[in-house]
Symmetry: C3
Subunit: 387 residues, 3 copies
Amino acid sequence: MRTGPGPVRETLAALPLVDHHCHGVTTDDLDRTAFESLLTEGEVRPGGDLSAFDTPVGAAVRRHCAPLLDLERHAPAEEYLARRSALGAHEVNRRFLAAAGTGVFCVDTGFAPPRTTSPADLARLAQLPAGPTVVAHEVVRLEVVAEAVAARGVEPEEYADAFRAAALDAVRRPGVVAVKSVAAYRTGFDLDPARPTDTEVTRAAHAWLSHGGRLEHPVLVRQLLWTAVELGLPLQLHAGFGDSDLRLHRADPALLTDWLRLTSGTVPVMLLHCWPYQRQASYLSAVFEQVYLDVGLALHHVGPARARAVLAEALEITPFRKLLYSSDAYGVAEFYGLGALAFRRGLGDLLQDLVDADELGLPDALRLARWAGADNARRIYRLTGGH
Amino acid sequence: MRTGPGPVRETLAALPLVDHHCHGVTTDDLDRTAFESLLTEGEVRPGGDLSAFDTPVGAAVRRHCAPLLDLERHAPAEEYLARRSALGAHEVNRRFLAAAGTGVFCVDTGFAPPRTTSPADLARLAQLPAGPTVVAHEVVRLEVVAEAVAARGVEPEEYADAFRAAALDAVRRPGVVAVKSVAAYRTGFDLDPARPTDTEVTRAAHAWLSHGGRLEHPVLVRQLLWTAVELGLPLQLHAGFGDSDLRLHRADPALLTDWLRLTSGTVPVMLLHCWPYQRQASYLSAVFEQVYLDVGLALHHVGPARARAVLAEALEITPFRKLLYSSDAYGVAEFYGLGALAFRRGLGDLLQDLVDADELGLPDALRLARWAGADNARRIYRLTGGH
Amino acid sequence: MRTGPGPVRETLAALPLVDHHCHGVTTDDLDRTAFESLLTEGEVRPGGDLSAFDTPVGAAVRRHCAPLLDLERHAPAEEYLARRSALGAHEVNRRFLAAAGTGVFCVDTGFAPPRTTSPADLARLAQLPAGPTVVAHEVVRLEVVAEAVAARGVEPEEYADAFRAAALDAVRRPGVVAVKSVAAYRTGFDLDPARPTDTEVTRAAHAWLSHGGRLEHPVLVRQLLWTAVELGLPLQLHAGFGDSDLRLHRADPALLTDWLRLTSGTVPVMLLHCWPYQRQASYLSAVFEQVYLDVGLALHHVGPARARAVLAEALEITPFRKLLYSSDAYGVAEFYGLGALAFRRGLGDLLQDLVDADELGLPDALRLARWAGADNARRIYRLTGGH
């Protein structure tokens, strides 16, 4: 997975990345349906005639991932799947994780079906025999904590304290560096920004606990976000692009403005993905000191050839301390490699061209590349270790 | 109307297109005011000092259409109009329709002032003497059907059945391949997604039928969309860009998410135009199996020189089976030719560059070009005939 | 501050601009905190470790402004600030204002802390010894007029008339060419478009006058917009990008559609800034005769290297009579120069490439350049004088 010439491109190509938001990879051998299901954010109907390979990300896999499985570029889907099966999940995972060149992973452990790697397993897969140490940290998904509290059984009037205590326990585990919320999925960001009162929370908890299911009561989602602020760790927020469970327009991060104003001066807020609202996220990162962003997930879905255009919009007015790298890879190992490649190439091409046009000084471009690829995340999450 | 070199560009330049959404062309000779009124989605005030030629689409007409009228490129507006008058409407229409190179038209017949071509007339205009057969199918605009039912007189409690029966009659006519709704204009997409109850429909019909006018009661617009689902044909939905009768932000197709979720597994939903929400449409096409999109209308309004940028966003995460071509041409024959040119050139440049950069295999690029230009539409509308 | 070769670029480089919306420049010598606070739309915390130089606009200042202070391109921030201090505010202001090459300024005087230039002072700073006359006109910010009326003391039932009278007085002052509203900041554009009744206004005035503070009562903001229509002058409306006091999504100008429809045929409406909703603004300018737009503020914040991409979207379907230039410069003199450079270069590159590709005729490109850079503003504001 190579990129073009020029010192900025070369620096980015060699830079050990901090992937500040990803998930585990499956250890299963995958048949066509299983692989295609992981390749797309949409549904795959077995027996349907739409192939998830016939997409920008599918074409990118055939172009950039096939050579890592010893195949020709643009190998047909059938060949790709056959070779993948022949090598076996472990070898495939090892190759792509190694190719990613990631030094530190921050792993959201809140969505992990059986036979998904733990953070430690993920780091092991990425570890080269004689290479520098690869490290994996953990990100606690707060909806999972809240739903576990509900599943254990709790009185409505005790729910708020029980959730807070459980969240505190969760973040005190070794290796936890951040919390995450999928409020964008559950209610969207167009919610009342104010901290709910105890009475409101108790009433909402009563409604939720008597019916069960996912945490999606607007009052409890707000309470979750306000509890996140108390935990003191950086808060990762899904924004924009995701699967069909989302209402995209309600995941526009600009809708969070009032809440960001109320929580200014507290915890860093990390806007994840953001596409197609990367300009809105750029704005928020420019005017709110605590806001950061990435365009993870989008980068491999649009593919390395288009990543530059998305990054150019994401950086339009973004302070250089505010852009981070994430793959948001989940399930298939290809995405760790493809996400890293798309980021390195997209940002490398963008910055190198600015340097070549004398619009940006080379030392500034190299600094921005290192900040976005690794140092911004190290600084915000206070990471130690990794390379 | 030529495009650059390279096999993808050449394939697209020669491909007989399926224009899955257009209107009829006027058979009138047009004076300056009439021509300019059709050139713009805005208003033209006779005697005003803004010329509809002083726009991106006006410049594109002078650049790309003038030579087909035997004029120099960039001919002044006055010369263009004079030459157009000298040739007469029939000859002008014949030239541009032939130049479009469209093999199949799907014609929305729901907006057709006097002296507008029927689908059959449109096909005849596009037919070359010794060329392969050009075919035109029909798209039924459901609001027109509903308003005809109201105009004939119907009791409120019988409205739902009468509309359903009339719609069924309309779609059973030979040559009908799809239905269309302009719900985006009437209420916008931010409507209650649930199917309205009979009681709700009767009450709403009572309100509407007693006052008359356009169908824009939110309950009846919802009922129209749900009736469309029962008809079983692909449903074309205006989305995004249109004239000043629109509230653009309420035509963002992401607002349809809940309705798409409820109607999943039923009829194909064809999002028309979409600009400037092409990324939102791209997302919907990626996560909902039944969603397709085009960027018709926008392509000739932004012009061939900018079509590539719009298509690049429209294709960002769009499955290759999901993009279609439409001109959305209406009134002036120029738009059939210009829409086709903008699509061929925009997509050709985009894909050829990907092939040249070895980001996409040539066979894949050619397949995607044929799918988007013709085969996706043939497949969804089960078209036969044409070339 | 130079641009590339080609007649369009050269014409734009030499064109005396009409900056139809800017503010005054500070006459203070600025220390690092003060300078950085003016460099960003966000907050700068003294002692914080985020530098406003580490942004696209900061990099653009170091690249394009440093040479005007006799420094190397990309000079470090410390050097830049030291040199700025050594030269003194007056000399710095003079250099950048002269470099802007602006012939006419329209100055919003409604936001002017102490030691900010008046319009006349601004024109004097931009005046070259033997150069043609530089002129500055005034734009009256209506919220300031309304708040002054409230501060003077007025009965609720007299508020509407008192505001109207004060606004009429203000616009009758010599040199006033337009009014402006920051309704986007106060309520957003998602407001009831109808003119409020006298009773509604009185009730709202009662609520506001008894509590004081900024004018942000939705009824009074509407009344302000409707009063603006009566004044007969072009109405400038902040749209899109601004500081953290904004809710960006509520400053989408598409939200104004119903109000634009109701006020069609009255005063010109000038949409300022617009980013990231430049396509929405482009749509409005294409379908409403009275709507105009610029992408001021955004141009220097994204920097000259990215201005072209933003302008390309802003011009996607915009009639050539509808695009204007503004710097929206405020506080630091750099922004007058940088805004002008970004506009000249962004538009010059865009149009020159269209000419080079024979997509636009050279005379048309030159005309569009002159219209956008100066003539459209001269025409709408009926400007006389300047060069």
